[in-house]
């Protein structure tokens, strides 16, 4: 167990250090996230009331699009110079590798979520009525997306068509997360009279299943 956690931490720290040096997510994905919010504004209406009404859904669609990019980056780091072979040779457990990779994606997603939250407050005029619900939703959804994304990143890794294949594989599976997180935000931002906390249950189930299932299934994919 100690070995497991140490390996997972090693991999996560390595990925975050690479991000700190290369700033790919910060300099490319984060601006893209804001751009998406602006594009939604152009496409829908300049009227802030409309945007405000749709803010939760737009927020989570933006998160999913950014997550795709973050996962692509996470995969390409290992593929650029055959590092994945090195990881397989290291004898590290595939589950530890999975948890480490997913944890790094999770941290990046949370940063993007914070940025996007600021974005909908400034651009769409949203107001946070239940901060705790916003944080809980953000964390659970990020776990769910990071784990599912990391598993599907491993699925598509090594394929010439990875960039185009990943979205069609990943996005349908994440439909419950999109719906659940959007509904929870509807409540937290005071947009609709729904019980946001009930939706957290669904997100929690998804997050747990994605973490456990991903750690289990990763072995079958990496050992190839």
């Amino acid at each position: 167990m100690n070995r497991f956690l140490a390996d997972a931490r090693l991999v996560a720290a390595k990925d975050l250090r690479i991000e700190a040096r290369s700033r790919v997510v910060l300099n490319q994905v984060a601006p893209f996230a804001l751009l998406v919010l602006v594009l939604f504004g152009f496409a829908l209406d300049a009227d802030q009331r409309t945007l405000r009404a749709f803010a939760p859904g737009l927020f989570w669609v933006a998160v999913l699009l950014c997550a795709l990019l973050a996962v692509q980056r996470s995969v390409s780091v290992e593929q650029a110079d055959g590092a994945l072979t090195g990881l397989r040779l290291s004898g590290m457990s595939p589950a530890a590798l999975f948890v480490g990779k997913a944890a790094a994606v999770f941290v990046q997603l949370v940063v993007l979520e914070v940025l996007l939250t600021a974005g909908i407050i400034v651009l769409y005029g949203s107001e946070i009525e239940q901060p705790l619900l916003v944080v809980a939703t953000g964390v659970l959804a990020a776990v769910a997306v990071a784990c599912t994304g990391t598993l599907y990143g491993a699925l598509a890794s090594g394929l010439g068509v990875r960039e185009t294949l990943l979205p069609i594989l990943l996005l349908p599976v994440l439909a419950p997360v999109l719906i659940g997180a959007t509904r929870a935000f509807d409540d937290a931002l005071g947009n609709a009279a729904v019980d946001g906390w009930a939706w957290l249950g669904l997100l929690a189930v998804f997050a747990v299943v994605a973490t456990a299932g991903g750690a289990l299934a990763h072995g079958a994919l990496v050992e190839e």
Binding site: K14, R17, R21, D81, G82, G86, R88, L89, S90, G91
Partner: protein, 219 residues
């Protein structure tokens, strides 16, 4: 140490190894040669536990590599230098070497001296140690990659064209390294086109062709 009997390995649907019989004793150094596409790289990857044999038997360091768990177990004990260096572009030389040492399950923190010592033995001077790998030349990358192996002290060294892309000094460093490994009781399999160079290290030359052992001479 290493024993293959009629080992067949596929790359996708292509039979890269068409039935290899080979026996390597502990402490031996073996030169692997053969035309391009003869199966040298696949043979080394098979011995490292990265590939499952399609048929035949492969036993390395006492592990029967026809089963998945055994393949995973052997990986930690062998050191494979492949064509790609397996380095992270944005991390420094030292960070890379330390990461790979720790990933291989070495003590939580391989001593700094050991890492620096390995890098220096490979002729990477101190000024390079804190540079990100993307600023290195191809030869320097290869040396870094070798340093990561040296730190791990594998029992079986599988070196796939370690001389490629190195200058004369670099090739000499590789030879010294192989000598050290043998002196420390390691077993070494080297694929190389540098026939004369490796001949001086080992009398045994295995020639692969068409995915099988074509000649096995021990002069």
């Amino acid at each position: 140490m290493v024993e293959l009997n009629a080992a067949v390995a596929l790359l996708g649907r292509f039979p890269a190894l068409t039935g290899v019989d080979l026996r390597i004793e502990p402490g031996e150094t073996v030169l692997l040669q053969g035309p391009n596409g003869a199966g040298k790289t696949t043979l080394l990857r098979l011995c490292a536990g990265l590939l499952a044999p399609e048929s035949g038997s492969v036993t390395v360091l006492g592990h029967d590599l026809t089963t998945g768990p055994e393949r995973r177990a052997v990986r930690r004990r062998v050191g494979l230098l492949g064509h790609s260096t397996g380095l992270y572009e944005d991390l420094t030389v030292t960070e890379n070497v330390r990461f790979w040492a720790r990933a291989a399950g070495l003590d939580a923190e391989p001593s700094v001296e050991r890492v620096v010592g390995a890098l220096q033995r490979l002729g990477l001077d101190d000024g390079l140690l804190d540079l990100p790998v993307h600023r290195l030349s191809a030869g320097q990358r290869r040396r870094t990659s070798l340093a990561a192996l040296v730190v791990r002290r594998p029992e079986l060294w599988l070196l796939d064209e370690p001389h490629a892309g190195l200058d004369q000094a670099g090739r000499n460093v590789v030879d010294t390294l192989i000598g050290d490994a043998v002196a420390a009781g390691g077993t070494v399999v080297v694929s190389s086109h540098e026939l004369e160079r490796v001949r001086s290290l080992s009398p045994r030359v295995v020639t692969l062709a068409g995915g099988t052992v074509h000649r096995d001479t021990n002069a």
